[in-house]
Amino acid sequence: MNLATVLLAGPRLVHLSLVDWIIIVFYFVLVLAIGLYLKERSNTGEDFFLAGREMTAWIAGLSFLSANLGALELMGWAAATYQYGILATHWYWIGAIPAMLFLGLVMMPFYYISKTHSVPGYLQLRFGESSRGLAAISFAFMTVLMSGINMYSMALVMKVILGWDIHFSIWVSSITVAVYVTLGGLRSAIFNEVLQFILIWAGALLVPIMGLIDAGGWGGLKERVAQNASPAYMHLWGTLGSFSANPMGIHWTGIVFGLGAIISFGYWTTDFLVVQRVLSAHNLRAAKMAPIIGAAFKMFVPFIVILPGLLGLAVLPFKLTGEAAAVATGGQSYNEVLPLMLARYCGPGLLGLGITALIAGFMSGMAGNVSAFSTVWTYDIYRAFIKKDASDRQYVLMGRWCTVLGVLISIGTAYLVMQFLSIMDYVQALFSFFIAPLFGTVLLGMLWKRASPAGGFWGLLAGTLSSIGMWAWVKVDPTALRYVALSPDARDMAENMYRALWSCLVCVLVTVVVSYATKPKPEAELAGLVYGATEIPSEDDVPYYQRPWFWAVIVAAVFVVLNIIFW
């Protein structure tokens, strides 16, 4: 079987022209060239794992956002929008903006001043080795699963759009990421993430613009969505008064307290995949500004992700279904809404750029996972528990090998993920297993001096186990949903929201009880780690328009206005 036969093994949505292929190949050449160019600047541990801590706020901020703008963001949320309507926007607004601002203004000073290289590294400084070990192992586990999901999504897109063999796509994309991250480390990942961010916008922005023209503007879109689905699909908050009044089967308390207060804070403030990008900033003010810059751009990502999903509901002449039904009937699934919209409006050249945008999104997510995995494995598992006295050069070598290892494990995970029908719900479940309790532990660690090392460890463990326990309970006995998610009408996403909330509360409760029963760290050892024991540099000599607070207030005001407009 020759290469062309492998590539075009199945039916495909679109046919690429020569110019489309040139654009795609040019993208691969450019990202590999960047990796090769940066190889010489990644020889020390600080260079390889933290990009030399010399990134500007803009670069760190765009990379912070781009690392998250992976497969799930582009394909998954467009699909979720087709399925659930504008409610999916909550994952971009209340499910991100407050947490990103909180990271920049409140938590970043402790991460940055403590000079930690990772989130588990912070836990080691604050609570000791056992907490670090637990967080590092759970993070490593989660991050390779996420990476596998990214790969699977990408391969699915290639299969649907281009007819590429799914196995071939997985191997080509992962080898490319492995090469450029292994060569240039975090710096290479960040450079490529910024490039990918720009390409994503350049390639995806045209779809909503053309779609709105096609649908007859915003008014026409609302009218058509109401006809083809339901008026409830266009309300952000108005239908959240009861579980049964909206397509997602969720109550506003789940969105506000589960998603807005726990899952998003857990993800954006403690997931090392994104926090690592901010740690590469060249000074504290840049580190505080980076998440605020990220938040400003995050608010507008729904334009290229949510809007195409809504437009799909409005203008596509056929109905999309779930993956299982699509496979059974030979139709198209929700997951294909974004490529379908691309194919609808983008001719030769533009189609190549749109496909490149999707590939770029997938690769940035994958590179983020792999580089974070490499750092946590090398610093928080290998150096902490296996080989404490190796040289810096040996750790860099281990980091490079770990990048390859992480990619290989991710490939294995991608094949596992193929067995799951609902990608999004699966990832939400993962978040609530590990991320929500971790947020409780880190937050108490940063804001409460009395939190003891034993309290931190047992709280984190209890929160994680309670989350897994609740998940297993509902799996074994679906009627348990009425207790976990407060309603038998709740759906998977609502269950995940509430499980995150309960597991975080369990973590906080256990941490507080155990801390009061055990000995805290002396205050002298908390300097640089905890509020009240850390001197945070004053910004009085900086003009107001350069202060993080000033921009955070502006971003917060726009966030409030957007929520009111789309109520």
Binding site: T56, V194, C346
Partner: protein, 79 residues
């Protein structure tokens, strides 16, 4: 600019936008002369012409502003 090397990341961004923009715009112009048999929805807007031109201009601006020689000169002046 502290972005990791003699060549700024924004220069790479400029190259990418300029090359992609040029290819897309040229394809759009070709389609104006030789209209394709199968056309996308809203073909008459010729999105590839104006979108490609926009990317090309943005890319050239970035390439010019963040050219390695210019960045090196700015860095030398500021240090």
């Amino acid at each position: 600019m502290k972005s990791g090397g003699a060549i700024s990341i924004w220069f790479f961004v400029g190259i990418s936008l300029a090359v992609n923009g040029a290819l897309i715009c040229a394809t759009g112009l070709y389609e104006l002369v030789y209209p394709p048999q199968y056309r996308v929805v809203l073909y008459w807007l010729h999105a590839n012409v104006w979108w490609g031109a926009l990317l090309l201009v943005a890319g050239l601006v970035y390439c010019f502003h963040f050219a390695p020689s210019k960045v090196a000169r700015r860095n030398a002046q500021s240090s």
